[in-house]
Subunit: 142 residues, 4 copies
């Protein structure tokens, strides 16, 4: 499964001594954008075509903490694509200890800056539509 690694930054920790829980949505976003680059649909290019992809829902289960000095990986897949909505699933591992730290799912939709309402890219951007459809996987079920 596709994954992305980096280290925890000091400024991402809080006085509890661990990564503040609000930062995980930022880690997932970083993973998505590196993934999009890797699958040849870089997000900055998508925005240049007038499309934006807001987040419409998020579910996170926090299982173990990440601390400063830890390296973590975000394992990720596009689990569903309806032409409008993109469902992503994630597992974040502490690469230093092997612990599973987060299980998450986020849903996003394609829209334009003029509209901000869910808009299918099927007709407007058929190549992007087909590319995304071909990338759907469900390995995380197992």
């Amino acid at each position: 499964m596709w994954s992305f690694k980096r280290q925890v930054n000091y400024y991402e920790t809080d006085r509890m001594g661990v990564v503040h829980h609000s930062n995980y949505l930022r880690y997932l976003e970083e993973a998505r954008y590196v993934w999009m680059e890797d699958v040849m649909i870089p997000y900055p290019e998508i925005e240049k075509q007038g499309i934006i992809v807001p987040c419409t829902s998020a579910e996170e289960t926090f299982l173990n903490f990440l601390r400063y000095g830890d390296e973590f990986s975000v394992h990720m897949e596009l689990s569903k694509f309806t032409g409008v909505r993109m469902h992503f699933r994630y597992k974040v591992y502490n690469e230093t200890t092997g612990d599973l730290c987060l299980e998450a799912e986020t849903v996003h939709y394609t829209t334009t800056r003029e509209d901000y309402k869910p808009t299918s890219v099927k007709r407007s951007h058929p190549e992007l539509f087909e590319k995304l459809q071909s990338l759907v996987s469900n390995e995380m079920d197992d």
Copy 2:
């Protein structure tokens, strides 16, 4: 229902022109801590007693955007308390437009810095336990 208001900060927006979705968990945290102050169990005091209250899960549905210049309110209730786990429910409204922007639920547990595992406060802090139990409400169901 208890609520808390403030304005969107400029640094909370992103290049999409709206509040970045990761900030809502920060807004909910702010609301919880103001609520705890209001119900006379200020969180800094709880930490001085050696208790910390990490977040163990979060569910968010993003319904409308907040933008710079908007005032928002977080409506909130402690919907369940098991002695270890605290369930909070939230609705975030744009006070400028009246729109419902976020529906959310977060779960937290009581623990200590030595342990970081869920630990009941029933025996160790009976007053805190009873206070929290007395505060449980379920108005948001309606």
Copy 3:
């Protein structure tokens, strides 16, 4: 001197147990925008007129820490206005202990989204220009 107060948020602390130093530029920004509202030139209105006000330099001296639970105040003045550049000076106090926590100065310039180069508002927005000039003060020298 004009000032603005609020509490430290939990998510603004780091594993050192204190407010992460990068957050002070955010506190100063909050103060500026509340100030602009108070002096009747609200920043969202300025942006609607096509003007943006980026930061071009910042100097900060960190003197004491702020911690979770502390209330702080930002004392601030517009110390110089050239028609293009706005110089602000700040002192941040811990309202809980009375300690001076930060002395700072930031410089900003007026520009447009089309340009992003320093642009005088003297001709294009004479009312804004005169208003800002009338607000310059140098109380912090004393």
Copy 4:
């Protein structure tokens, strides 16, 4: 000169469409910690020895914007070390355009969590002291 590269994250931009100026202190911190790792004095190890290194002052001149999709580099040197205070100088370049985006200097001091006052490491940690002294350079003057 030592340098460190990474991409701008989406969540680091603001509604002006550029990296929010408060994030640069975070970029500089990231650079320092990668540098410390590279020169074999990893900061997590230093904290394990009871030492913390708060920031006592910062000067930043913002020269050009960074935008989402840009790669940037932080060029950095330890320009002075007194046994207590560490002075760092930085230049941040947009690797996509070649533009110089930021010139900065930060000063930090060594202390302990018990004390939080400037404390020399000369006697307590002579190896760390000598290592840091040997790393001082002044290439950025040229």
